[in-house]
């Protein structure tokens, strides 16, 4: 039976407040904006929880009750969970209830939603392990499938995950890389033996995540019935629908009808039979490997380039990420919990995304997701905060 596999990404960064040159050496707090702006992390987390996490999770719980065959899966960044625990414990309780049904899988990732795999494997492993800890503490489960920040993937990530004992790893089903292959099968990563690769069906995923409320889209309005037919008509063994959880209620507001779409979707998918909801682990179990997939270069789920250029494509982004990782040895030597935590919070991929200057087709998306006036403002605050961190580390060292 064909699988349909939903995975929702839950992530909220610690946005750096407006941090001026004059604050360097005077203010060790980088993330404590208390204004009415979108740099106020507490305000954003509360807003997103109210608009999205709470209503969407309440609905999913209800749907799981209504449809015993239904499955979902989540990937939570550690810093999203941490902020929710502090500001919106109700959301954590709802997530716990979902996981407790036993029909929701939790994926593994880095605690700080970082790109550390490509900059420091040792730091990457520490963050994955810290993530594993919070998932065990909150939900009592152990992730078996890994997804890296922004769905960034390369063959060696699969090799690493295989060594760690993961059953599967997730990547973008980007056609220029796949060639004739469909994302709707289970694959083996090149050079791996046991581990399986699941690919995002970005066309169908983006129909919900990006195009759902777009009136310029010929298929608007998207009904659950229509979408159910598309899934039904898809080739292959599995349709992997991976998207930001904020799609429900935040990126697509409630008044677009996104919640009633979600509500009707399970029955529309079942209607004609032949489709089973599965979690990533279940998809891997249910289907045979179709072929091997080779991704020697980094592939992500962002922009039309599907590479890392949205994060490290311009000189500012490169300077920023190089600077933060260049501090690694000093930070570790300082052996100071506060410094370590601040350094790691500055590794979150969002900081670099805000500095993106691609104003072409994707520019609108970047502007929408950025709390800063411009990529340049994002860079200035970030680099100033990082300079302060460097000062603190150096003080500690002397």
């Amino acid at each position: 039976m064909k699988s349909v596999c939903f995975y929702f990404q839950v992530h909220q960064p610690y946005r750096v407040k407006r941090y001026r040159v004059f604050d360097i050496g005077n203010d060790p707090e980088y993330f404590n904006d208390r204004s009415e702006s979108d740099l106020n992390n507490r305000r954003i987390v509360e807003k997103v929880a109210a608009k999205s996490y709470i209503p969407a999770t309440t609905l999913l719980l209800e749907l799981l009750k209504r449809h015993p065959e239904m499955r979902v899966s989540f990937s939570f960044s550690g810093i999203a969970l941490e902020q929710l625990e502090r500001y919106v414990p109700e959301a954590i309780e709802l997530f716990k209830a979902i996981i407790d049904t036993g029909r929701a899988e939790v994926l593994g990732e880095t605690y700080y939603h970082s790109l550390s795999f490509f900059y420091s494997e040792a730091e990457f492993e520490r963050q994955v392990s810290k993530h594993r800890d919070i998932i065990r503490r909150l939900f009592g489960v152990w992730p078996r499938v890994f997804r890296n920040t922004e769905l960034s993937y390369r063959n060696d990530l699969a090799h690493w995950a295989e060594r760690q004992g993961y059953a599967g790893v997730i990547a973008e089903g980007w056609d220029p890389v796949l060639g004739w292959r469909s994302p709707n099968y289970v694959y083996t990563p090149k050079g791996a033996k046991q581990i399986r690769l699941l690919l995002k069906n970005y066309k169908l995923s983006d129909d919900i995540a990006f195009r759902f409320s777009s009136r310029d889209w010929p298929e608007w309005p998207l009904t659950a019935e229509k979408f159910g037919q598309w899934v039904q008509a898809s080739d292959g063994d599995t349709v992997n629908l991976f998207m930001d959880y904020e799609t429900f209620g935040e990126h697509q507001w409630a008044d677009t009808g996104i919640f009633s779409f979600l509500e009707k979707l399970p029955e529309e998918l079942y209607k004609n039979g032949g489709i089973a909801f599965r979690t990533p682990s279940e998809v891997i179990q249910a289907h045979d490997v179709k072929d091997e997939v080779d991704m020697p270069h980094i592939v992500t789920w962002a922009d039309t380039d599907r590479d890392l250029t949205a994060w490290v494509g311009n000189p500012m982004q490169k300077a920023a990420i190089d600077s933060v990782y260049s501090l690694e040895d000093k930070i570790l030597l300082a052996n100071d919990g506060r410094l370590l935590e601040d350094w790691r919070k500055l590794q979150t991929s969002d900081h670099f995304y805000y500095m993106c200057t691609k104003w072409s087709a994707d520019g609108d998306v970047h502007a929408y997701f950025s709390p800063y006036e411009s990529p340049y403002d994002a860079y200035i605050s970030y680099m100033n905060a990082l300079s302060d961190l460097r000062l603190r580390v150096e003080k500690k060292g002397t």
């Binding site: 001026r20 040159v21 004059f22 311009n314 000189p315 500012m316 490169k318 300077a319 920023a320 200057t357 104003w359 006036e373 411009s374 990529p375 340049y376 403002d377 860079y379 200035i380 680099m383 100033n384």
Partner: protein, 397 residues
């Protein structure tokens, strides 16, 4: 088209705008008759002017002592070096009187007047011929005076009458449209926004860095203010930000290029702030000198208190020099690849100056993107929009 200055005989952005619009309108097939109040040397070696004439522009001139950029306190006092001299209001009056005469001699479809000095002439031309009138507002008295308290009621009256009587008011930005609607009581639907642009005919050119090379090679960064030294342009805010930046990084030279009624005040302020050693006053720069100054600078700052548009940041961006511009400007509505700041927030101004000076990556990203962006903001786009407005007016008449 009634104007009063045209490059190379211009003292500011207005002449540049008239040239850009005239040329791009001519390229769209409009025949432009550009009226100037004073005879100017149009056989200037400046080739672009000649090019523009070949495209069908005829320049009509007669004597007039006008200066568009005198602030109200200076009216009647200025007599040196300007292309116009003498009593401003009587000259405006004389220019107005000529409006009807010229209109009766020439044949045309639309009357077009740039800023208040030519509004009177435009109105007379409309009265004499019944042809539709467009007034193009490049600046209002509220911008020039730097606030409501300094507004000259006579100038305000001329502006208001011109806008009321015109068939269409063109504003250089939403920022200016807002002033026109709220301060002059013009209905919003009568005001159309047409942004300025830049192209090779109006961009400064030259051979590049020479005299400032020694300064640069000794490790100084150069932060540039280029504009008239008047309240409107905010040179005092520039100096206060300089003071704050220098406390963090003394290896910055702040260059002030321009002249104006605040010149003495600014030298005194620099001394009072104790930063005279890091401030250079170059006086008014034009042509190759101006180009050299832009190229030498690491950052161009336009801290204007009230800037209807602001062409200088586009000139700087086109040459790849990053810009920091006040949010109280029209140009900030059209450019993304620029740093922006409220003119009064000198802390933030200093923060951004220090960031550009301190981070190569920021400077190079801004430089590269600003250059590309400025190349897309053209007079041709302005003319395209005017094309629609002009044809609409002709049709409805």
């Amino acid at each position: 088209m009634f104007g009063w200055e045209f490059p190379p005989h211009n003292s500011g952005g207005l002449g540049v705008a008239c040239q850009g619009l005239t040329r791009s309108l001519a390229e769209r097939g409009f025949e432009v008759l550009f009226v100037m109040p004073k005879r100017l040397d149009v056989s200037s070696p400046w080739a672009r002017m000649i090019f523009a004439e070949r495209e069908g522009i005829e320049t009509l001139e007669f004597d007039s002592p006008l200066s568009p950029y005198m602030t109200s306190s200076k009216y009647g006092k200025q007599s040196k070096n300007g292309i116009y001299a003498g009593d401003l209001f009587s000259e405006v009056e004389r220019y107005r009187g000529m409006g009807a005469t010229i209109a009766k001699e020439e044949s045309f479809d639309v009357i077009y007047a740039h800023d208040w000095l030519s509004f009177g002439a435009g109105l007379e031309a409309k009265k004499a011929t019944g042809k539709p009138l467009i007034v193009h507002v490049h600046a209002t008295e509220f911008d020039r005076s730097g606030g409501a308290s300094g507004v000259n009621p006579h100038v305000f009256g001329i502006e208001k009458l011109g806008m009321e009587q015109a068939d269409c008011v063109v504003a250089v930005s939403e920022f200016t449209k807002q002033i026109i609607v709220t301060k002059y009581g013009i209905p919003a639907e009568k005001v159309r926004v047409v942004y300025n642009g830049i192209d090779e005919s109006t961009a400064p050119s030259g051979i590049g860095l020479r005299r400032l090379r020694s300064l640069k090679s000794s490790g100084y960064s150069i932060v540039l203010f280029l504009g008239r030294l008047t309240l409107q342009k905010g040179p005092d805010h520039f100096l206060r930000a300089a003071k704050k930046a220098l406390e963090r990084d003394p290896r910055i030279m702040f260059v002030i290029s321009g002249s104006g009624d605040m010149e003495d005040e600014m030298t005194q302020l620099a001394a009072k702030l104790g930063i005279s050693g890091n401030v250079i006053f170059t006086g008014f720069l034009s042509g190759a000198d101006r180009h050299e100054m832009y190229v030498a600078a690491d950052l161009f700052v336009m801290p204007s208190v009230s800037e209807p548009f602001g062409i200088t940041p586009l000139e700087s961006m086109r040459l790849g020099t990053p810009v920091l511009i006040s949010k109280q400007s029209g140009v900030s509505e059209v450019v993304h690849h620029a740093l922006k700041v409220d003119f009064w927030d000198t802390d933030e101004m200093a923060n951004k100056i220090l960031s550009v000076v301190g981070h190569d990556a920021l400077r190079s990203s801004l430089s590269e993107n600003a250059k590309k962006e400025a190349e897309r903001i053209t007079w041709a786009d302005a003319a395209l929009k005017l094309d629609g407005i002009l044809h609409g007016l002709v049709k409805s008449h």
